[in-house]
Amino acid sequence: MAALLLGIGLLVGGGFAALLARRSVRWTTFLGVGSAIAGCLAGLIPAGRVLLGGAAPSLRMAWDVPYGAFFVQVDALSALFLLPIFGLSALAALYGAEYMAAHGDGRAPATTCFFFNLLVASMALVVVARNAVLFLVAWELMALASFFLVTHEDDDERVRDAGWTYLIATHLGTAWLLALFILLGRGADSLDFDRFGPASGAGLLFLLAVVGFGTKAGFVPFHVWLPEAHPAAPSHVSAVMSGVMITTGLYGLVRTVTFLGPLPVWAGWVLIAVGVTSGALGVLLAIAQHDLKRLLAYSSVENVGIVALGLGLGLVGVQAGSAPLAVLGFGGGLLHVVNHALFKGLLFLGAGAVVRAAGTRDIDALGGLLKRMPRTGLAFLVGAAAISGLPFLNGFVGELLIYMGALGAATSPGSAGTVPALVVIAALALMGGLAVACFTKAFGVIFLGEPRSEHAARARDPGLAMQIPMQILAAACLLVGVCSPVLIGLLAPVLVQVTGLPIDAVQAEVTRMAHTLGWLVACAAGFLGLVALTAGLRRSLLSGRSVTAAVTWDCGYAQPSPRMQYTGSSFAQPLTELFEPLLGTRRRLSPPEGFFPSAAAFASETADPFREHLYRPAFAGIERSLSAFRWLQHGRVQLYVLYIALTLLAVLLWRLGEA
């Protein structure tokens, strides 16, 4: 516990120190980034210790706020979420040191360092807080710190808009949480988490949690802020926001489920429905994007959907009393949280390197970067393969657990979970295929072929501080995949806590799954051997023969130009057209006309359907109806004071009347 508090202290202290030293860029970077890395490393110690089977340390101090207490505890569930929070943040901080220095726009990095450290500290506090007041304070701190990070480039109007959308969405979400905790606390007469018990109306409380925490996690239809805010932030912040900040929403949901006791049968169904819509719409909208960082943000919506599918399946398993379904569902979902932090962090850092080097996020203006940025390209390829769920990388392992749980439930006759399990299988299969389409597009169009713009042609790999975090994350994607039989054992205590099953039952399931994963690792070794063998065969066949270079064969056309390549939009066209009713892609075409056509243009744009058809009309309606009260607000302070006085008087009279 001391190490955790030291870590949080270092983060906050280092942030203030960076602010104080804002005149010197070198000192700011040293203090801000140094303290962030040191703080994260210190924080990793208790998390690792608890996951390896140590006792859960806790600390309780009095706090002068009604019902508040500084009550923190690192149990297995908290530790599982602390691991990616501190791990990814440390790497992102190191990356940010170079990324912000290369920014060269005259903005001091001090405020970014300060808010970044504050964001990491508040995320850690969210997952260890054991008192609702402390939790909400940390939650709010997290929202505000990330708001200021999102609006870093506030001279751009779109960035300011994204910031406001984010600020409004996060507070609307928090409103539901406030109601949730008040209802929970009313039953327990305390706001300490350990006093919350099985409450009446658990179904209502569960729905409050799904909406409130789902807004932060990015569940469809509460996701609209996510594709606006994540791309607007500096890339290392996007990595942290998309990789770990949204998972605090999932943490909140899982933590709430542990309080609520027996849930109604439909609770698991709700999560599965949320998972199917978030997953399918997320990946389809991702495919349709032209902006690399928006594509990654929508893909986060998809991955949150996959986690929701796992958690929903787990809930169904708990209610049906099926240990395999409960363990594999929750296990797969929680493992995917960690995996998503690794590959989405990696992809956003890679995207940042591309943006820095080529000066654009427009996928269709990039191309040919693998030759110019070989290391970034390799890391991005690993991330793309991992997020597509390809075997032997970490993404496959998480999805495999969910699949195995679903298939297990579907194959045991008379099991209660059959229909939800089949829905999950169909959804995962569709998402898997679409994710391959999405990330072959992202990697292929950006890194392969010929550069489509001059900036892209001049791109270069970034320096070591940006390079090392990407390589570490790529290695982690591989390692988690290969070490999965061992790592899954670490999930056992978390699963006991979440499912409420006895340790023996959980352990039995985990051992059974570790057996399958052991086979998977053996296959991975075989695969590596086969690749080496085929590559060796190819080399020996080609040695001594003529190997020449030429232009790409374009059916006899003599002068292919980079503009003739397939673009990201053309690659995605069959899918966007197929799913047009869901996506509402707008196309503008001015076709070539006449015998000597001079100009022709085509553009397509896929706006968020929920933003366009749900939120925009709704908020416009609210604005219209409230504008009737504009006359109350006129900027004369004396009258405002009068309003306050009148209100106080009214309250006083009401109070006296009651007495």
């Binding site: 059959t418 089949l422 190819r538 080609l542 030429a550 232009v551 059916c555 397939y566």
Partner: protein, 303 residues
């Protein structure tokens, strides 16, 4: 693990190109031609292996890695598929998922290798490949889930061993629906008519053939051989399901399954000589149709 366990994988590695020979001979006979030798695909692979290569200056190592990774994933997949009642070399609960996702590995690397050339032809093929594969995947997985539900197993070896005569007699509709769905997946994944035309790559109708337009020499040999392996493996799933002959004698069973594979190749040739390729906009309907068949099969098992 006995030596017999290697039989399915070895048979696949040895006989896969033969299927293509049988199919093209069937098409030739149907068209009234003599046709190529049955062993022509073997000759093609051997000829290509002896050639040098020409690489586009646009390409990177990804282009060279594509065929290697693609072939490696197919060979590993061959170790997972049983044949004629003989369990596969590698069999564990969940290997069915590894099999499906190994197909995805091959596809991923073929697609990025195609995009590496910067040619709009290959980009077009890649784009269609990922689109149709995304639609075929639910049909394949749900169909396999229906078989898994019927047999209570998550390993391909036990799943296909469970599709015996008595089981067919009992739940013929389920197995027939799954088999029909698998036929569509088999045609789509292997780029055959009515989804794709394997005989051409220079029209705007192509998918798989055009993705490998720039490959040559040993790379193309790997691709060709990998494609025949994929044809064999998906065919073996179908035959394992649809030919419920389990005499107890391993030799007889393997011979029956091999005969089934040859029959499938003939059937493929017949389909290809009788049907035209569908318009591209209609292919998704076929895929969704296959998924619906799989779902129906599942509903029949759930009732």
């Amino acid at each position: 693990m006995s030596a017999a366990a290697a039989v399915p994988a070895l048979l696949a590695l040895a006989l896969a190109p033969l299927l293509l020979g049988v199919t093209s001979r069937t098409k030739a006979v149907m068209a009234g031609r003599v046709g190529r030798p049955l062993l022509q695909p073997y000759f093609d692979v051997l000829k290509l292996m002896r050639k040098g290569a020409v690489y586009s200056r646009t390409t990177t190592w990804v282009f060279r890695a594509g065929p290697v990774v693609g072939l490696a994933s197919m060979i590993l997949a061959a170790a997972l598929v049983p044949f004629g009642g003989v369990p596969a070399l590698v069999a564990f609960p969940g290997d069915v998922l590894l099999f499906v996702y190994l197909l995805a590995v091959g596809r991923f690397f073929t697609v990025v290798a195609a995009l590496d050339t910067g040619s709009s032809f290959e980009g077009m093929g890649a784009s269609r490949e990922v689109t149709f594969a995304a639609l075929a995947e639910p049909a394949l997985l749900l169909g396999l889930a229906a078989v898994a539900r019927g047999t209570g197993s998550l390993s391909l070896s036990t799943m296909l061993a469970g599709a015996t005569g008595p089981v067919w007699a009992e739940s013929a509709p389920v197995l027939a629906l799954v088999a029909a769905a698998l036929v569509v997946v088999f045609l789509a994944e292997n780029g055959r008519i009515p989804v794709d035309d394997p005989a051409t790559h220079l029209e705007l109708t192509m998918i798989h053939e055009v993705m490998v337009l720039d490959h040559g020499g040993p790379d193309l040999a790997f691709i060709l051989y990998g494609a025949t392996l994929k044809l064999w493996l998906l065919g073996a799933l179908l035959v394992g399901l649809a030919v419920p002959i389990h005499t107890g004698n391993a030799w007889l069973d393997v011979a029956a399954a091999t005969a089934g594979m040859v029959a499938l190749a003939v059937l493929l040739g017949l389909v290809e000589s009788q049907m035209a390729r569908l318009r591209l906009v209609h292919v998704p309907n076929l895929m969704v149709g296959a998924t619906v068949l799989s779902v129906l099969a599942l509903l029949l098992t759930v009732r």
